[in-house]
Symmetry: none
Subunit: 225 residues, 4 copies
């Protein structure tokens, strides 16, 4: 009975913690780290400032918990989309499908996440910033691994897999940002992104010009020959 009681209390506690995080995420994504005060969060979440500090050591902690826990959630949800030795194209498509689903359900989080990721200078958070960067590096590395496998399997052309990963990641981020700002004009779905990234954008040209895309006159250091 006691254990039940404690357990109920603890569940209650967790609910409170989540509620705070939920409200804070919304507010931070709307106004940024410096645009939201602890008082603001207290008022909006209907707890007192004191309670906020019971759950989190300080404002950065709260902000960090917010991001890191959500990121874990996202990483967990996407982990196996890229792993295993499925067909590489399938892997990526599944990853994209999953990611886009998450974006649509977690707009607030992605707004915040993308702005934190882009920030090159030591962001609002000394410590958290680093973890974010590392998380992102891991994601790119995971994508790169898929590309590398694809290259080995002669599915993809022989390009720097990390560059490909960063390029794809950038394209996705760019499209997500546009989607978050004006979703109607920039609907996103995995197929479209796959088509743009993997299909040649160029119309098929009569004789073997297909591979020249980035070589109009070949004067540029002849790089693709």
């Amino acid at each position: 009975m006691q254990s039940l009681k404690v357990s109920r209390k603890e569940r209650e506690l967790q609910r409170h913690r989540w509620e705070i995080l939920r409200v804070a995420l919304k507010m931070f994504s709307e106004s940024g780290f410096h645009g939201v005060t602890m008082q603001d969060i207290a008022r909006e979440s209907e707890f007192s400032v004191g309670t906020l500090y019971k759950f989190f050591n300080n404002k950065e902690d709260l902000y960090g918990a917010l991001l890191l826990e959500k990121i874990d959630e996202m990483e967990d949800a996407l982990r196996d989309t890229l792993e295993g030795d499925k067909d590489e194209m399938d892997s990526i498509r599944t990853f994209l499908d999953g990611l886009i689903g998450l974006v649509k359900k977690n707009a607030d989080f992605f707004r915040l996440y993308l702005s934190e990721i882009t920030r090159t200078g030591p962001s609002a958070l000394s410590s958290i910033g680093i973890e974010l960067k590392e998380g992102r590096e891991r994601e790119i590395a995971r994508l790169a691994a898929v590309f590398e496998r694809g290259i080995r399997n002669e599915v993809f052309r022989d390009l720097d897999p990390f560059l490909l990963a960063a390029a794809l990641d950038g394209m996705i981020s760019g499209l997500i940002i546009q989607y978050l700002e004006q979703g109607d004009r920039y609907p996103i779905d995995a197929d479209t992104i796959m088509e743009i990234f993997f299909g040649s954008i160029l119309v098929d040209q009569p004789e073997g010009k297909k591979q020249k895309p980035a070589n109009p006159n070949d004067n540029h250091a002849m790089s693709s020959q």
Copy 2:
């Protein structure tokens, strides 16, 4: 003689203004808007706080001037790369070439610019934020115009030109960010970006499979076959 004197004074004044902006850009790009105080900028630029306020009405103003003047500079430098009715591929390559040149010479600025652009929530600057977004929209629109022309001229396949523009823009931004963080591992040049974006990443496949990768008629269930 008098005109010379005045002119010298004014030139001096301009130099001071530039110096302040130069120092401030560096500092903001390293620590963000809220991570730098006016005192900091004063100390580093070797002027007094008062002088800072002679040149700029307030901190936001200084920050805004910083971004907006640089942006104008960049836009001016890149304006005609995308205009005119040159070959579309050429246009984009020239644009990329120019952009990458600017990135290498204005690392501080791009760090700041990209983090402001990504920020979806109302950034540090109410007014400036909007101008930045608009500037970015214009850039994407200019890219989209080139894509549209290319589609009409049957150089590019018939995809939403704005989507293509946003995708390319995102890819570039992503690569620039990686370059700014770890330039050695992510060298960027126009040809590589062109190749990734325009060339099919896929290895030529025996029978016309080339166009299938993101074939919208494929449904998911079939994609892994």
Copy 3:
């Protein structure tokens, strides 16, 4: 019990607010709005600056609250001295009596009030300045109403009641100022003021000269004959 607790806390809060106002009134009346800093008030009232700002939005607000609340208090205390249809002389004497009593108990406030009232240029406080002027206008209007009634009842001579009110008000203010600066040399009491204002200052003169002092029919050229 809970209600008691809340009530105690609230009473405590009110006490704190009052204490701040009390200290601030004293300081402002001694050194003027610009002669007192928020730090000064904090130190003297033994609260922190932050607490000051919990109670008042800004320095002007604090200053305004100070004046306006005291003014309300004074107006309330004096309201019915001038109203009702008592004998006009009685009304005014009662008013004076009350006013003088208040002056003696609220020297600090009157010092401040009189200096704000006199200030013709937009005082320390844009908004408050106007309210003060209006309050003063009301007071003069109330006095004027008594004079008007007196004139209708043929107790007072037929002079502009507003001019009479302003004259009496000015005389009172002048005497109060002198009293506040050197109370021993300028003791004030209702009777004396009544005597000076209402009684002729002139010694009775043998033949009907009594009405000549300021005879409006005299023109200047003749006045010195």
Copy 4:
């Protein structure tokens, strides 16, 4: 010839000094000491800040010069109106006439002067404040002297001459303030003030009641009988 040159230069200098004072007076009277910056005065007077400091040691000095020189001017203009052994009523009327003339021609100055005079706490200016108070004391003393003479000559009733002086002075100040704020509703002229101050305000009453209005022997309880 040299002396002439110097003299011209000096006259020029004096003109500049006056111009500065003229502009400053206007500005201070509109916005108060703290509402005007040295930059403001420089801009408006079309001199540089540096020049302002060539003429005056600091802001207080400028403010002081402004007031004190004007006050001297006023005192000079009014000095002999109260002096000599003319008829006392005439003295005061002439004084009032002169004063009102000055008020109408120096509205800005009087606005400022009255607000400084009223200020009981150490005004904007430590040193100047004292001089102002003293000047005012002198004026009251001069008025008191006339009253004293009048009492000795049995023109005025036997009341404290300083109290009478302060009362008259207050009444005048009050009316001037009203005039400065809403001149149309409160026209001022010497005759009216004389009539209000010296004439009994009370209508002649049948039997010698005239002297009762503020009879100090009356006590309150009896006053309404």
